[in-house]
Symmetry: C2
Subunit: 359 residues, 2 copies
């Protein structure tokens, strides 16, 4: 029997999300998956080195209570307003299952996080992708009367952010559905987080991650903040397929990370400064860069694919998508000053060999 | 608007699995969730203490390649025959999605792991529960011509195991579907693992966990072994909802655990010996105990609920289900000799206060 016959209809149809390369050999300057160039807080190292390994024989606290409490203290909400999962990917996947599964008219930007269409497919969600305006602008008037909305703010891969009034408009204009604001990159933004609004609107769910601003991509921790009944629903769905989701060390490390505000502020500030410097340098070279409020930039380049390959051959990894509307752009994660200097030098070299056709 | 209206149909209908208590305060003898009473191997401690915490800023290897390789070496299969996930719960949930979703006639024992019916509900699987024979025996003749089969071997909560010929019969008699053998407890059994058969039968998937025999419940690592096309299908489904599932420390710890065969053999042997001693002691007191090949026993007690509560008041936690057919049983995890001695003493005390009505 052909093995494909064993597969469920769903598994056969799936088009999985393709993540950025994680090269095994070192020596690459890795500017392709929006990781933080700085290591986690020394308090994370301390907490993990002091962790009682013998306790790993026991199941973890299934609700990550201590971590939820630390997050709630830090963000000024209650522990019952916080839900933790294995990275914001899992939190978002559960969110789709809990609030969007089987529904139509779930509004999302045409260009955004590549997982939204994949989850729509797997969880029987009829997405309503909204075309974007000139310059990849999200026009809040297009986000009305949905059975749900999902939106990355700042958006990816553009880095552009809505301000808090615009987010509130969307939340108000979609009273019949849950509005999910995916704030993976908000800590690098001037824009205000929507977490404050979650006390006012019971249909708002804000999703966050430890992967970017807390330098913990390798630990897989994300969370959601919202009305406690929305959080209950996420718990329900989570408990339906995995009794003990976050391992003990992940809970321990994330808790230590969120407790170290000074380190967080310092690394976040450094990344924002490096971003501004990088954008200036690219502008000087003649490149247009979208107004980024994230830890990456989205730069226009007529010959984006060639530039991608040129950088790759110099062991600098950035992200390129061969897709309509964005095939003349590169997404470049902000690394350290030294890494970005190497990136700029390589771009300069490329320009010497292949000058721009037009300014 | 009432928040229940935000929920998907699926989320509304869900009856989540209820896991055993994880008491926060210490002082309990915890014999209720089949954890290993011994700490993880010293090699796990060493590997985790030496882990490079700075690397947590990067995403993990998304396929857990190094861990899959270590598992494959240990079990005599190829790395492409191994799939890793966040505990066997996640591996099994993905298995249901990949092979059973949307199908009917998925055969499973009437009494088995409580998650099977929950996953059936969430993933649109029409389960065909098979009534069990006298003494909770699984009769292989009842497991034929399904669109899939899922079976815990040894079974839970009974602890009873099929021998390898019986497992092979089931695999042969269900050529049109995937047969999932959930071997969470096989390392405590006389029965042979079905992993060897997976080379012969492309419809066999064996699921395992690090939670029990490797003392790593707190690290959340499970895996599946099978034909590489079945493994590919699991990867596909996994990649559709979470790009980087196992965190770096979980991969590191599990890899160290599977490399320490001596420690594994020693702790496993100790648990089997303690189980035999515990069964003897209970038999002497007049209790019938099913023939367990797991790290727990399923003992008959007319007044099971009372005994459960008596033990609880003495700070000994075991598992009781108020459900038809099993409401006169307790499932008791095998702890250390000292813990089981305390358990037996408490049962003796109970018998003094409430002697058995009949032998």
């Amino acid at each position: 029997m052909n093995i494909v016959n064993y597969l469920s209809e769903k598994a056969r149809k799936l088009t999985p999300y393709v993540a950025g390369l994680q090269p095994k050999n070192l020596g690459f300057i890795k500017l392709n998956t929006n990781e933080n160039p700085y290591p986690p807080s020394p308090k994370v190292t301390e907490a993990l080195k002091n962790a009682d390994i013998a306790k790993l024989k026991l199941y973890p606290n299934s609700d990550s209570s201590a971590l939820c409490e630390a997050i709630s203290e830090r963000l000024g909400v209650k522990p019952e307003n916080v839900f933790c999962g294995n990275g914001s990917d899992e939190v978002l996947a559960l969110t789709f299952q809990a609030f969007f599964s089987g529904k139509d008219n779930i509004i999302m930007p045409e260009i955004s996080y590549g997982f939204y269409p994949v989850w729509s497919e797997i969880y029987d969600v009829t997405a309503k992708p909204v075309p974007m305006g000139e310059g990849f602008i999200i026009n809040t008037r297009d986000y009305k009367s949905g059975n749900g909305v999902t939106l990355a703010n700042p958006n990816t891969p553009t880095g552009i952010a809505l301000n808090i009034e615009e987010v509130e408009d969307i939340v108000k204009n979609n009273p019949d559905g849950v509005v999910v604001i995916d704030e993976a990159y908000i800590d690098f933004a001037k824009a205000t987080s929507a977490i404050g609004l979650s006390k006012k609107y019971s249909n708002l769910l804000v999703v966050r991650t430890f992967s970017k601003s807390y330098s913990l991509a390798g630990l897989r921790v994300g969370f959601a903040v919202g009305n406690n009944e929305l959080i209950d629903a996420l718990q329900r769905v989570k408990n339906a397929f995995n009794s003990y989701p976050l391992d003990i060390l992940a809970q321990t490390g994330a808790k230590a990370a969120i407790g170290d505000i000074d380190y967080f502020e310092e690394t976040r500030k450094r990344i924002i400064e490096t971003r501004m410097k990088t954008v200036d340098n690219l502008n000087e070279l003649g490149y247009d860069v979208l107004d980024s409020q994230a830890n990456f930039i989205f730069m226009h380049a007529e010959n984006a694919k060639e530039l991608y390959e040129y950088l790759f051959s110099d062991k600098i990894l950035v992200r390129y998508w061969d897709k309509p509307r964005i095939d003349e752009f590169l997404r470049v994660t902000i690394g350290t000053d030294i890494e970005m200097e190497a990136f700029i030098q390589c771009v300069k070299q490329f320009l010497k060999e292949k000058p721009m056709k037009q300014q």
